[in-house]
């Protein structure tokens, strides 16, 4: 009797001690620390190595400023940097201006066929920008482009008016394929604004247009600014599209110039030094964003209440729809027509005719060319893994920063945004420098690609998570904690379900670009970890456009299929708003 009582007492005592321990030391803190550790691994280590080698001499390893002199000594290199900044600003502006009406139309008006418009945006997102660029070259090439030929035929002029090989051409192509970012950010921002404020404005006498400009859009300002920043950073980090368009147009941007530093003799140290100003640009942009949003309240999501009504537009809904279709034809319909035509032609230059049609290109790509099947598998597995990693870390960090779980949280936010301004090429160099020597021997493995992709798209995931967490009132989590749950419990049971839809959207925002990511993959791939983007890039310099188009078609079709399956599995038909 005494022994059992004793044992009971001991086990009770133990349980009591454990409870005291749990109360004093929130175990969930470990989880946050783990996330921070992962962030450091993904972002800080490569960045640190990058900064370190920028100060090291290539041959001797001694510390020197020589790389910076080499990087900025030549006027051509400085010009490339200016070109990039100019490109980024132009693209971000054009893209925001063009994309906001589309986002507003889908989110807040009664425009018809919204599901279809959303589909076209998805299509734009899935088509790799460099594939779009290739199609655009065929559409707007100064001599043989379709648009120019039509213009000449219609107007009888001697020359066409479109020249894709120009700064304007580059801005147009990149803007078109960056529209999805603008759409996703701004429509997410607009979605959560309840109609109460618009009603208040209407009651006080403002018309629809004025309400939109003075009430709705300013409320979505965080989203608009986030979109602007992301598009800026995305456009200066692109490699494929500038390689196809800027090079023949005779100007360099930072990414194509960096590539030159890597052509024999490799000057990785100079490349690292060259990339440093871009870091400064990110920090500057981030500070700007904070400053603009400093004293405004944007809490509009308080649980699941708040009605959102569509604004009736009358005849203007058709005008808006026409506008959306016009944009969609420039990004999806015409380029895809070009690709399909080329993919099924024996000889692209022969033009349209029945005897020119063939399935051989597809057959060759899918069955004969060995690398394709492995590449397809690799592409989708790496993209999925990196998406999961990125949103987990991004949401955790956004939460930590917003709820001030650790001091100096803003440093974490900057870190999370950093990778996007580092062009994929340079990030890959950083990863290469950090993870191809002991203790981390990741070269040639799939992991280095997955980590690189996750890091590359962490800023997008973070920006979205940041907006999501910011729009959530802490009251709900406080309610959970008052009732005895830990923070992690609050996140699991309250925050995550509320954000579920946005999380899926964010996941896709990482997954899809990861499937078509070129600049990072180009540096880190090994023969058995090749992905489709690398294959496409190689094929583009082989003069066999038909095969290239076939492979591009395969990528687009399989991505679309996977996304559709994903949506069905998640229980949402993306045609219907839930």
């Amino acid at each position: 009797m005494a022994t059992t009582a004793n044992t009971e007492a001991t086990s009770d005592g133990f349980k009591l001690r454990l409870m005291h321990f749990k109360q004093r030391f929130d175990v969930s803190m470990l989880f946050w620390l783990l996330m921070i550790a992962i962030l450091l691994f993904l972002v800080v280590n490569p960045l640190f190595r990058l900064i370190q080698i920028s100060f090291q001499d290539g041959d001797t390893g001694a510390y020197t400023l020589g790389n910076y002199f080499a990087a900025y000594g030549k006027a051509r290199y400085r010009e490339a940097l200016l070109n990039s900044v100019e490109l980024g600003l132009c693209v971000a502006t054009v893209c925001t201006l063009v994309g906001t009406p589309i986002a507003w139309a889908v989110s807040r008006t009664d425009m018809p066929f919204k599901g279809f418009v959303r589909l076209t945006i998805l299509g734009t997102f899935i088509i790799p920008p460099y594939l779009g660029a290739i199609a655009w070259i065929l559409m707007a090439g100064p001599n043989a482009g379709w648009f120019n030929r039509i213009y000449i035929w219609l107007s009888g002029a001697e020359h066409g008016i479109f020249d894709i090989y120009s700064f304007t051409g580059l801005v147009v192509v990149i803007s078109l394929y960056s529209l999805p970012y603008v759409y996703i950010f701004i429509s997410s921002g607009l979605d959560v604004i309840s109609s109460e404020m618009e009603d208040a404005a209407n009651i006080l006498g403002a018309g629809k247009f004025r309400t939109t400009l003075r009430i709705t859009l300013p409320l979505a300002l965080p989203a608009i600014i986030a979109a602007f920043v992301i598009v800026f950073l995305e456009s200066i980090a692109l490699f494929g599209t500038p390689a196809f368009i800027a090079l023949p147009a005779r100007f360099h941007v930072v990414t194509t110039q960096l590539w030159q530093f890597f052509i024999f003799p490799i000057r990785a140290e100079v490349a690292a030094a060259y990339a440093m100003p871009l870091l400064a640009v990110t920090i500057f942009l981030f500070l700007m964003q904070k400053w603009i949003l400093r004293r405004k309240g944007f809490v509009t999501l308080t649980g699941k209440g708040g009605e959102r009504r569509e604004i009736p537009l009358g005849i203007w809904r058709w005008v808006l729809f026409g506008y959306c279709m016009f944009i969609a034809s420039l990004t999806v319909f015409i380029p895809m027509a070009v690709l399909i035509l080329a993919a099924f032609s024996t000889a692209w230059g022969r033009g349209l005719s029945w005897d020119n049609l063939t399935l051989d290109n597809l057959r060759h790509i899918l069955l004969t060319q060995e690398t394709t099947q492995t590449a397809i598998f690799n592409t989708y597995t790496y993209a999925a893994a990196s998406a999961v990693l990125a949103i987990t870390v991004a949401l955790a960090i956004a939460y930590i920063v917003h709820r001030r779980l650790v001091p100096m949280g803003n440093v974490l936010a900057v870190l999370a945004m950093c990778p996007f301004v580092i062009p994929g090429v340079v990030l890959a160099i950083g990863f290469y420098a950090a993870y191809t020597s002991p203790p981390f021997m990741l070269y040639g493995t799939a992991w280095i690609l997955i980590f690189a992709f996750a890091t590359r798209f962490l800023p997008i995931a973070y920006a979205n998570s940041h907006a999501m967490v910011r729009s959530m009132n802490p009251e709900m989590e406080d309610a959970v904690r008052i009732l005895g749950g830990s923070r992690v419990y609050a996140v699991r049971k309250v925050v995550a379900p509320l954000l579920k839809r946005s999380l899926v959207g964010t996941g896709l925002l990482v997954f899809i670009p990861a499937t078509r990511e070129l600049s990072a993959a180009l540096f880190l791939y090994a023969p058995n970890t090749r992905v489709i983007s690398v294959l496409l890039f190689d094929l583009s310099s082989e003069g066999v456009f038909e095969n290239l188009a076939a492979l591009g078609l395969v990528l687009v079709v399989s991505s679309v299929t996977l996304v559709v399956i994903g949506f069905k599995v998640m229980g949402r038909d993306f045609m219907i708003r839930s």
Partner: protein, 345 residues
């Protein structure tokens, strides 16, 4: 006397037979060792991916049990890959083929290649054999030729340029397309050769005609196919192959000389599969591989007696020119800079 002669001839016969046997034996021994290694990784900037992979598979069919992994991209890129592998102490490539002879010179200088004489080298045409590395570090497994191509729908055969200086005719303004020596080994060699033959003013005059500068020398064929440009400086094999499919491409072998591109291949010292590498290199020089190259590549084969495709040409009937390896090693980095200054990129 008779018996001595008989003895001598018998000995010679034996020696020859012995040589045959020992060559076959080397092959067999090598094959066994290679099978133990399991695979060979081939980094190549030439031929085109589809051809390179066909060759890989033919190798696998011939030597069962050894996988051939083919990595093909443009010359500067594949060399960059190789350099990165070596820098990170993670050698992957066994056999390295590049269209920029300067790479081989550089690798040899740093002691990164293995010297070995493949038995099949005896089959090479002497025209090609002289481009092999004297110390056995590199062999010319195939050669390519750079000439002038034109879009037959836009330019008639009569009007097409017949020689390199014809490209500078003002009537070709906005019509020419070329590759970039910063990306393409072929383009680099061509620029060095033009510089040698005509001086740098050739490019200054060319720049005034606003040529389209792509990346690879094969980009030019795509440009011509689409009709975006009508005259190109291209790898003629690609041009002929495209024409064969029905695209409107015509080729011209310039009078002053078609630039010849022997594409050297070497064995990496750090090769993870040295025996498989040797087997592969030797196989590349075999009649079977050479016939495959000629069949699918439309290019002159390095081996004697290989049937070439109609449309491609016997190298003996045209004038070939080419810079020396030393000119290439010094020349390509130099002309890259000059090219960038003249053309702005």
């Amino acid at each position: 006397m008779c018996s001595l002669l008989k003895y001598l001839s018998f000995a010679t016969l034996l020696a020859l037979a012995g040589a045959q046997v020992s060559a076959a034996e080397t092959d067999k021994v090598l094959y066994e060792k290679a099978k133990a290694e399991g695979q060979v990784v081939w980094y190549a900037s030439s031929p085109r991916t589809s051809v390179a992979e066909k060759m890989g598979r033919a190798f696998e069919a011939h030597y069962k049990g050894i996988k051939a992994v083919v990595v093909r991209t443009t010359a500067q890129t594949i060399f960059q890959r190789l350099s990165m592998d070596l820098r990170s102490n993670n050698p992957i490539a066994d056999v390295f083929t590049t269209s920029d002879a300067g790479h081989i010179v550089e690798l040899k200088r740093k002691g990164l290649l293995t010297s070995w004489t493949p038995p099949n080298v005896v089959n090479m045409i002497s025209a090609f054999r002289k481009y092999n590395d004297k110390d056995g570090y590199a062999y010319v497994v195939f050669g390519g030729i750079i000439g002038i191509t034109y879009n037959t729908k836009l330019v008639s055969a009569v009007d097409a340029p017949k020689d390199w200086p014809d490209l500078l005719n003002p009537k070709w303004e906005n019509q020419v397309t070329i590759g970039h020596p910063g990306f393409s080994g072929y383009a680099g060699t061509w620029v060095v050769q033009m510089n040698n033959m005509y001086g740098w003013s050739f490019f200054e005059k060319l720049e005034a005609l606003n040529p389209h500068v792509g990346r690879s020398i094969t980009d030019t064929v795509t440009m011509l196919n689409s009709g975006e440009r009508s005259i190109g400086v291209s790898n003629l094999a690609a041009g002929i192959a495209s024409a064969d499919k029905g695209n409107p491409i015509g080729v011209v072998y310039p009078k002053s000389g078609t630039v010849f591109m022997p594409t050297p291949t070497g064995l990496m010292k750090s090769s993870p599969h040295p025996n498989a590498g040797k087997l592969f290199l030797n196989w590349l020089l075999s009649p079977e591989a050479q016939q495959l190259i000629a069949d699918v590549r439309y290019e002159p084969a390095v081996k004697k007696g290989v049937k070439t495709q109609p449309g491609s040409i016997d190298l003996d009937t045209i004038k070939l020119v080419r810079p020396t390896p030393e000119e290439i090693v010094k020349g390509i980095p130099e002309v890259k800079e000059k090219f960038r200054d003249t053309f702005g990129i």
